[in-house]
């Protein structure tokens, strides 16, 4: 079945990430050598704090009121290689490879290269990374989790003007019960999670949907940040397995985007393949 498309979509960022068992020999000098492979396309470099490992756990941990967070020292560096316009980047640390596309200043919805192109770029750059490690004795990235994230910024239009009108954008949050309260609603934030299963019905990942109110820093205009993330274990440790996970995740994200937003917003975003 063909997935719906939105000509005037609100997509602002896409991130394709794989996590693997830590590479003990991916030290800073090796990262420098690695940059030489990417430098012609990604001439800028930034350093950022490391990301801690993340795993989707089944069943959900018991809610005992205890929360445990781990931080490893010395921190493993995370480097960003960026294109000149900052719209595309590669992030690397000793247990991550991440490829991002972001909407830059002046870009329109038509600037989004589409999933098939981003998938192609991910395959190419993750392959470069894996080949470098194999040649240089840096180890083999054995992938244990994949994550695909779509971040949308929903701007006000004829359908909605203030954050209180969230149900005009997200109709599953009905205002009927809320309207019985002797107060005026102001805004809201939401988290929905869905379990993804493989052909044998075993849980392999989750789709998390987050809606948060926000304001444009320059104009003060309201926005809804609408973030959809699929994360879980691929069927194998290879890049091919990760790509299959991304394909399935992409379909889930597009279907969820479509199902969780209103027909009025679909019209504003000029939905096709309806």
């Amino acid at each position: 079945m063909k997935l719906p498309e939105f000509e005037n979509h609100p997509l602002n960022e896409v991130a394709m990430a794989v996590q693997f068992a830590p590479l003990q020999h991916l030290h800073t000098p090796r990262l420098g050598a690695l940059w030489q492979l990417f430098r012609s396309r990604f001439p800028s470099v930034e350093e950022h704090p490391p990301l801690e490992p993340q795993f989707e756990v089944f069943p959900s941990p018991p809610t005992s009121g205890v929360n445990v967070r781990l931080e490893t020292h010395p921190p493993r560096p995370r480097v960003w290689f960026l294109t000149t316009d900052g719209a595309q980047l590669v992030q690397i640390q000793n247990d991550r490879f991440i490829r991002n596309w972001r909407r830059s200043e002046g870009m329109t919805a038509a600037s989004y290269p589409r999933y098939s192109k981003l998938r192609e770029e991910f395959e190419k750059d993750a392959g470069l990374f894996a080949d470098f490690l194999a040649r240089d004795g840096g180890g083999e990235p054995k992938i244990n989790q994949c994550e695909l994230t779509y971040i949308n910024q929903v701007a006000p239009c004829a359908v909605w003007k203030t954050h209180a009108e969230f149900s005009r954008v997200f109709p599953w949050v009905t205002n009927k019960q809320i309207a019985t309260l002797p107060m005026e609603s102001e805004d809201g934030q939401f988290l929905l999670r869905f379990i993804l299963r493989d052909a044998a019905n075993a849980p392999v990942g989750r789709l998390a949907v987050v809606v948060q109110p926000a304001f444009a820093r320059d104009t003060g205009e309201p926005r809804f940040i609408f973030r959809l993330t699929v994360r879980g274990a691929p069927s194998g440790v290879s890049i091919d397995s990760a790509l299959k996970f991304f394909d399935a995740g992409h379909a889930m994200i597009v279907k969820a985007f479509d199902a969780l937003t209103s027909a009025e917003m679909h019209a504003a975003w000029r939905k096709k393949n309806a």
């Binding site: 602002n12 960022e13 991130a15 990430a17 996590q19 068992a21 830590p22 950022h48 990301l51 801690e52 490992p53 993340q54 795993f55 989707e56 756990v57 089944f58 069943p59 941990p61 018991p62 005992s64 009121g65 205890v66 929360n67 445990v68 967070r69 781990l70 931080e71 490893t72 020292h73 010395p74 960003w80 980047l89 992030q91 991440i98 991002n100 972001r102 909407r103 244990n144 989790q145 994550e147 994230t149 971040i151 910024q153 805004d187 934030q189 988290l191 849980p203 998390a208 987050v210 948060q212 109110p213 926000a214 444009a216 820093r217 926005r223 940040i225 973030r227 993330t229 994360r231 274990a233």
Partner: protein, 169 residues
């Protein structure tokens, strides 16, 4: 709640509303407890374990046992054993935090000769052993009067949870 592995820093276009997450909301009548335990290995590295809420006693005791294992030097068994890695310690702590309940009995913490760690319970006719040497990969062995069970688990503990529950009864 959703701790992104991939999302970049937000573009400088937006100011997100500064809401506390539901986990962060503390009623006036509640007392919020937060503890950090630092585990050190013998290479100068460390793991900070930040615990929010009332951690069960077994959790603190388990961290003490992991600390003892983390400072073992290579060849600690006299047969060429690898020193226990921070990754193994992280993996076992994550397992315990995600799987065990306040009334779960305290496990024994045993280093493995491949640089991993193993949690063990032997009580009430039940033997349960779970070992990990790399994040997210667990080898589990269970035995009771009804038979044996052995699996490699990748953060899917659906089959393991009821076996762990048997230790409580």
């Amino acid at each position: 709640m959703l701790d992104q592995m991939s999302a970049t820093a937000p573009r400088m276009l937006l100011t997100e509303c500064n809401y506390p997450s539901s986990e962060g909301v503390t009623a006036f009548s509640e007392a919020s407890r937060s503890t950090t335990v630092t585990l050190r290995d013998n290479t100068g590295g460390s793991i900070d374990v930040h615990v929010t809420g009332e951690a069960p006693q077994w959790f603190v005791a388990m961290l003490e046992d992991i600390q003892k294992a983390l400072v073992l030097r290579a060849n600690w068994d006299g047969y060429g054993a690898i020193a226990v890695t921070k990754e193994a310690a992280r993996s076992i702590i994550m397992l315990a935090a995600n799987l065990m309940r306040p009334n779960t009995p305290r496990p024994s913490v045993v280093p493995t000769n491949r640089g991993g760690l193993q949690l063990e319970w032997h009580q009430g006719g039940v033997d349960l052993e779970i070992r990990s040497s790399m994040p997210g990969v667990y080898e589990a062995f269970y035995c009771d009067a009804d038979g044996e069970w052995e699996r490699t688990l990748f953060f899917n503990f659906t089959e393991l949870t009821p076996k762990l529950a048997k230790l409580v009864h």
